[in-house]
């Protein structure tokens, strides 16, 4: 696929190289020539020096043929404006914008853009690792507002129905149960066994409650 990456800083250079390594055609745009020095020496994509918002620069980058565009500079207003024109003027099928300053996120959301907020997501992950090392995150939706966790069923919940466990945490949905290497879709009536791996989709609040409940039982 053809991708355009705008901004060749920490995020942009990693992203461009990652896409290139996965066999995609990549064009990276940055207004400072020195920025391209942060690209991996093995990067064989295209680099284009210029301001992406100047008329004609995105055309020269091949935006008409682009399957996706990511605007990942450290200016949130630039990322919002570039992503907006990519969607509205050039009709690029997939457009992603980086959110640099979390306080700017509400402004970017007005444009209805697909956002990745590295600071918010990073802080969320670090908080989980500090508080909740037992619950492994297997998937993170949005910017970490909802995540899918994997946890091991302790002995205190052996031979009890799943509904009993979920009643304690309303912001959790059970999405998969793996027993002896075989996964199934659990129902509220599913009887848990010690050692089952349960996947739940939950908010941070929800997973906190679920964890508290498992801890209580173990202590009792």
């Amino acid at each position: 696929m053809n991708f355009i990456v705008i901004g060749c800083g920490r995020v942009g250079s990693e992203l461009a190289f990652g896409l290139y390594k996965n066999g995609h055609k990549v064009t990276v745009i940055d207004s400072h020539l020195e920025a391209f020095e942060s690209l991996d020496p093995d990067f064989r994509g295209r680099t284009l020096e210029g301001d992406a918002l100047t008329e004609g620069v995105l055309e020269r980058a091949g935006i008409a043929e682009a399957d996706g565009l990511a605007s990942v500079t450290n200016s949130d207003t630039s990322n919002a404006v570039t992503a907006h024109i990519a969607r509205t003027i050039y009709k690029v099928p997939i457009v992603v914008a980086r959110n640099y300053d979390p306080a700017m996120r509400p402004m970017m959301e007005v444009f209805g853009l697909q956002l990745v907020s590295s600071p918010s997501w990073g802080a969320q992950r670090i908080q989980e690792l500090l508080i909740d090392p037992v619950f492994r995150t297997v998937f993170s939706a949005g910017n970490g507002e909802v995540e899918v966790y994997e946890m091991r069923i302790p002995s205190c919940w052996n031979a009890k129905p799943l509904a009993g466990l979920l009643r304690t945490a309303p912001e959790c949905l059970a999405v998969a149960l793996t027993r002896a290497g075989c996964a199934m879709l659990p129902t509220p009536d599913t009887i848990l066994q010690e050692g089952d791996l349960l996947n739940v989709s939950a908010t941070f609040n929800g997973i906190q409650k679920l964890r508290a409940c498992l801890d209580e039982k173990e202590e009792a």
Partner: protein
Amino acid sequence: MFVMIAGGGRTGAQLALLLLAEGHKVRLVEHRRELLARLHQELPTEVIYEGNPAYPTVLELAGIREANVMAACTSEDTVNLTLCFVSRKIFGVPRTIARINNPRNAWLFNENFHVDVALNQANVFAHLIQEEMSMGDMMTLLKLRRGRYSLVEEKVPAGAKAIGVAIKNLGLPDQCVIAAIIRQGKVTLPRGDSAFQQGDEVLAITDPEGARQLATLLAPPQPNGATSV
């Protein structure tokens, strides 16, 4: 009218003073410490709202829901575009005006970002200078929005070809209308059979070609007696 100004640089501050003098309600939003110190010396305290205008919550607290106009005057084009978009889309501001800092970004300032009026400072100045160079005494008083027409003014010098000729016989193109003549301090609205006198100030609404022809008719005679082209 209630005008919300974003950005307290020279442009924003000057606009605030002008609007206040005309009796409008103004709120200027700015967050840079170094500018706020100066703004507090120039403007009444109640006019200044301290906060980053790029944050929608700041605009809301500054009262944007009641504003009739958003004037986005910051020194960053992407901020000005974003401000117009957010002002219309979220807060329903009826009119948005944006300053263009870099003329190469001018193509972005349109309805795609809910910009009603874009003011390209560099462009306006460049055109004014260009006209001053080519037209001699002709002054452009006002560029009419979204068109090639301008309101121009020129003083009739001694010996100009147009003196004593009825306006209808001057052969001016349709795109040039003589709007007013200021004679001895009094404004008169000319008719087709009115004629210019030496010392008249002529106000015309015209396109560039009409302005060129009018300038020829109102030019002073060449020193060697040849007619001007």
